[in-house]
Symmetry: C2
Subunit: 208 residues, 2 copies
Amino acid sequence: MAMARSTTPSATRKAPKAVTTVPQRLLAEATRLFAERGYDRTSVQEIVEAAGVTKGALYHYFGSKDDLLHEIYGRVLRLQLQRLEAIAGKPDPVEARLFEAAADVVVTSIANLDDTKIFFRSMHQLSPEKQKAVRADRRRYHEKFRALVEEGQSQGVFRPGLSPDLVVDYFFGSVHHLGTWYRHDGQMSAEQVATEYADLLLHSVRQP
Amino acid sequence: MAMARSTTPSATRKAPKAVTTVPQRLLAEATRLFAERGYDRTSVQEIVEAAGVTKGALYHYFGSKDDLLHEIYGRVLRLQLQRLEAIAGKPDPVEARLFEAAADVVVTSIANLDDTKIFFRSMHQLSPEKQKAVRADRRRYHEKFRALVEEGQSQGVFRPGLSPDLVVDYFFGSVHHLGTWYRHDGQMSAEQVATEYADLLLHSVRQP
DNA sequence: CGGCACACATACCGACCGGTATGCTGGCGG
DNA sequence: CCGCCAGCATACCGGTCGGTATGTGTGCCG
């Protein structure tokens, strides 16, 4: 129910002994463990041990285990929405903007692969209220992306028969799935995957 | 570790009083509950109550809660592989076979939407050994599908620059994602989605 | 120099949960 | 008609987990 119980210790603290603050470490370790073993299989005890603190610290900064997950979602969601808005607002032709937006979400999803894994495996484990909030944010992102498809259709450069919503769900399924198969030590770089994914999307919507 | 502990009560039983057997009901209710609340959040107590029996019955037919999940996976995996092989073996041109295979996996995924949801949310909760077995089966399916893409490329009807593996991962991401957004009471029929998804795939791989 | 609030550590609790050991019963083979 | 075994039901256990109440040190403010 509650978020952080106290004020976040600001960087104005006199001695910058530690480069990472305790809440930062908690979030980072939680992300790692959630991606590795899943939300339910990760105990708060494991999280605090990995972060080198105790439960007292965790419940000092976060209201519940649930809050940790919500915060992880919020971070990646804000990042992706912000980048999409920047790209969509450029003066480039719609084809270039859709390509760039598609490639960008692939690159950032791979850069934060743990968050991506967690997102689509654990979202239903949030409390109903927080789930609703996340869905609302997700929907804003979806609509921003869909607007690009619709703009291309109205300009006649994208095929008119397609349902823009379906196209967006189609593409983001592929993006969400990245966490399942992509390996950082594999043969393909994030940019290679991004380029090819964006290429596949453009070819499927472009007017022949 | 163990599968069913005793022989499945065959249909040869004299009195066909119940149309559904106990293990069938257990599997059906488990599927429903796993899709609804997730694997870890569903207790075996809830499953047996939904099926109208007790834990004694469940552990009489299944070795563990894990076995239930594995059996659910096995069912949908066998079904989809069988259908893919039938389609891939037809004498039609490769474009038509890829289209039909793509549309078919969408239709069957929607028809068994609960299984699809469970598959990609709970696979990592299986024991390592069973997870390995499922991955192997999944890989066989993937390769069968990839062979269709490669065949089209060698015939010159599909674009040569694409990585067949990436194309398959791309498409199946979309398919797995269906469980997240598709609603049976929504506006689109399974066939509509299937046709449009297959159309998007073909447009992205076909030689212009 | 006091005291007080922040930032944690320690200790502990009640609620489950997966699994098992054992009890009961009806039908079928001999 | 009898025994026995498949097919469950009942009772129970050890372990774990999220969360909380309370203790404690320490640096900043007055």
